[in-house]
């Protein structure tokens, strides 16, 4: 079964970082707010609303197009798959900067981009249903 995650109600976000921590625990077995595929952003002061960001699972992903080594393969259902043997962890950050909402980050330890594996933990650990996690039709 194929699943998809979407940020549907960002205005509900309370800034608890439960999604970020859950993602980091799931993907890397650690707690690290910068090793994650879900991001919590604010603009300027914390008086401004939070903006949770995840991969948008684009049909024609710009990150994949930007990769000079074709390490990011577009998936038929949207989103990307990483072919680690091709990724050189290049420091030009082409894939990272290609994403307009900056939903991709380079993992500082593995030097690979962190790819959402659609586990749904961010949605599971959100107390206010900011995310929608559903099976793709």
């Amino acid at each position: 079964m194929r699943f998809r995650i979407e940020v549907v109600r960002p205005e509900r976000c309370i800034g608890c970082y439960s999604c970020v921590y859950a993602c980091s625990r799931h993907l890397f077995n650690t707690v690290d707010p910068s090793r994650t595929a879900v991001f919590l952003r604010t603009e300027g002061s914390l008086a401004n609303p939070f903006m949770p960001v995840t991969c948008r699972f684009c049909k024609t992903p710009e990150c994949a197009e930007a990769c000079p080594k074709d390490a990011l393969q577009p998936l038929p259902e949207g989103g990307i798959m990483l072919i680690t043997s091709r990724c050189e962890g290049c420091e030009t950050f082409d894939c990272i900067t290609a994403c307009a909402i900056r939903a991709l980050a380079l993992d500082k330890k593995t030097k690979f981009p962190v790819i959402c594996d659609k586990c749904g933990d961010c949605a599971k650990y959100c107390p206010h249903n900011v995310f929608k996690y559903e099976e793709m039709k």
Partner: protein, 601 residues
């Protein structure tokens, strides 16, 4: 981990020291800080001297389990002249831990305004002349950036810069190191702000066990009734609850019910002003309630139409400022309450202490012990928000000798002008908003930081309504609470999560972290932390037996009727007796001996 980052403002230098000895025994937070404050402070240090340290210690489990969010700040308090101990949530504890430190110690002082900027292992002391004089809210706007990881910005306001004894430090816009004057310590060091950005990891030894336990605790936090109150109305629900019980202080504790309670209740605020709720990183509760305060543009811009609200600000509110700047001052208009809170926020003042001071000023004026010459022509009257705002400003500006005394606390002001009877302080700190009975007063008197959160004394007053509880039981309750809360605070646990983290749960959680502990062992640890803190208090001249309780306490109405001074003394005596039987010497020896002879235990 186990790392302490030392920053010296005089030398503009920093170093990191590993102290596994401290962390393995005392975990973190106040446990570790209780040792460091003694190590780092020469006895008798002037709070405002460069030698006076500030210690920020994050809890041991911050980032790892839900609701572990707290940092303690320890310092020498200008207000109490002994232990400064203050807790804050917000992003600080997580940012510090993700930057790779458990504790930050600040030493020295700068001649020019400076800020400390930390991005992981990059630590800088930078000039901050242009930030000096800005409100902490503007500092936060200025310094917050689009960093990776978690960033925390903390700053003092003009109150701290002017060394007001209860100037506070505002943490991430909506949280506070309140009460005992940390802002003034920042001011004395010319330290305007600290920004910490942490992008590293908190390594887990047994990630699978952490995940499993996290899920269990998260479900409990989110789905049980245990923390629901804090999310729904927050502690502001107390306004009506306490008013119904006749325990809501009003008119400087002369009354225990307030006719305007409904208008400034949590329910009314939620209806009229609540805009958002936010959380600390790692806590799914969102107990921080933010109200929208709307004000009009200046009349000249509106051509006389006053009803066009154009300026909006977010103001955090919870029960304590609602009592201190609301019911206790007979403020019954939500927007007036919010304006008073907001003024405290902008200046970086402890809202509770400001309320205590304003209530005393109003009564002192009524009683004729201060006059218009003292107040520079302002007539302080109950519920007069305009007068109160002017008094706050004059105090921060140290406008004349009267306002300068106010800025040093009510012990100083009432010593000069009189009115000790209704200066509602114990241990020099303003009383919290609970006219509930003996437990709350005794608890704040004996607590190491003279706070209602030292030992939850107000909660035994509630229990005592249903069954008779004697002085000895009250003293025992306070001690048990105190000891246990120091364990929770050392882990970084939010006070609101105390029902989630029972002794058994804490033992389970620590086991996952590789620490074998028993409930009894933990209580012993909590006791030791308390003893350490009291030793510091005593070293700095604090004597429990010398502490005065204002006369008003014995004339105020409580659900237990009027309080009896002898019973109160009896609770304190039992308390001292029990603490001394644990080996904590609370009094000079000859005094103790004399007391013991007359002690009827």
């Amino acid at each position: 981990m186990n790392s302490i980052l030392y920053v010296d403002l005089t030398e503009r230098s920093s170093k990191v020291i590993e102290r596994p000895d401290l962390f393995s025994k005392y975990l973190g937070g106040p446990g570790v800080a209780s040792k460091l404050i003694i190590e780092e402070t020469k006895p008798g240090t002037d709070p405002f001297s460069p030698e006076s340290p500030i210690i920020f210690a994050a809890g041991y489990l911050v980032g790892i389990f839900p609701c572990m969010v707290k940092t303690v700040a320890m310092f020498k308090s200008p207000l109490t002249k002994n232990l400064g101990e203050s807790y804050s949530g917000g992003h600080l504890a997580s940012a510090l831990r993700f930057a790779g430190y458990d504790v930050l110690v600040v030493h020295g002082a700068s001649e020019n305004p400076v800020m400390i900027k930390i991005v992981d292992d990059d630590v800088k002391v930078e000039r901050a002349d242009s930030l000096w004089g800005l409100s902490p809210l503007d500092v936060e706007k200025t310094l917050r950036e689009h960093y990776e990881g978690i960033q925390s910005v903390i700053s003092c306001g003009r109150a701290g810069e002017r060394l007001i004894y209860y100037g506070n430090v505002i943490v991430d816009r909506f949280h506070h190191f309140g009460r005992l004057g940390l802002g003034a310590i920042f001011g004395s060091k010319k330290l305007k702000a600290i920004s910490i950005n942490g992008t590293g990891e908190i390594p887990l030894e047994d990630p699978l066990a952490v995940k499993e336990m996290y899920k269990k605790l998260y479900d409990e936090v989110v789905n049980s009734e245990n923390m629901l109150k804090y999310h729904n109305l927050g502690t502001s629900a107390n306004v009506l609850e306490l008013n119904e019980r006749g325990a809501l202080p009003s008119r400087n504790f002369k009354e225990s019910r307030f006719r305007g309670a409904e208008r400034i209740s949590g329910e009314a605020m939620a209806e009229s002003s609540l805009e958002r709720k936010i959380s600390c990183p790692g806590c799914p509760v969102a107990c921080i309630h933010l109200a929208e305060l709307k004000t009009g543009f200046a009349p000249e811009h509106e051509k006389g139409r006053k009803e066009i609200f154009s300026e909006k600000v977010l103001v955090p509110y919870n029960y304590e400022p609602m009592y201190a700047l609301g019911s206790n001052l007979l403020i019954n208009e939500p927007s007036h309450l919010l304006r008073l809170i907001y003024r405290c926020e902008c200046l970086g003042l402890d809202a509770m202490m400001v309320g205590t001071v304003l209530a005393w000023v109003t009564e002192a004026f009524e009683e004729g012990i201060i006059n218009l010459d003292d107040t520079l022509g302002i007539e302080p009257r109950w519920s007069d928000v305009g007068a109160y705002l002017q008094i706050i400003d004059n105090m921060v500006d140290l406008k004349n000798p009267f306002y300068t005394k106010l800025a040093q606390g009510l012990d100083v002001a009432s010593e000069k002008y009189g009115g000790e009877e209704f200066a509602m302080i114990v241990g020099r700190n303003g009383l919290a908003g609970y006219a509930t009975g003996y437990g709350t007063i005794a608890g704040q008197l004996v607590g190491a930081r003279h706070s209602h959160l030292s030992n939850s004394g107000y909660s035994i007053d509630q229990m005592a309504l249903n069954q008779p509880i004697g002085p000895e039981q009250i003293a025992k309750f306070l001690i048990n609470q105190e000891d246990w809360l120091y364990v929770l605070y050392s882990l970084g646990t939010c006070y609101f999560a105390r029902k989630i983290y029972t002794k058994e749960v804490v033992c389970e959680v620590l086991k996952i972290m590789g620490i074998d502990q028993t409930p009894e062992g933990l209580m012993q640890l909590g006791k030791e932390i308390f003893h350490n803190l009291y030793k510091f208090k005593i070293q700095e001249g604090f004597e429990l037996t010398d502490q005065k309780i204002p006369g008003r306490v014995y004339s105020m109405q409580t659900p237990h009727k009027k309080l009896d001074a002898e019973k109160m003394q009896s609770i304190i005596k039992f308390y001292i007796h029990k603490r001394e039987s644990e080996g904590l010497q609370l009094r000079p020896e000859e005094k103790a001996l004399k007391e013991l002879l007359s002690f009827e235990g």
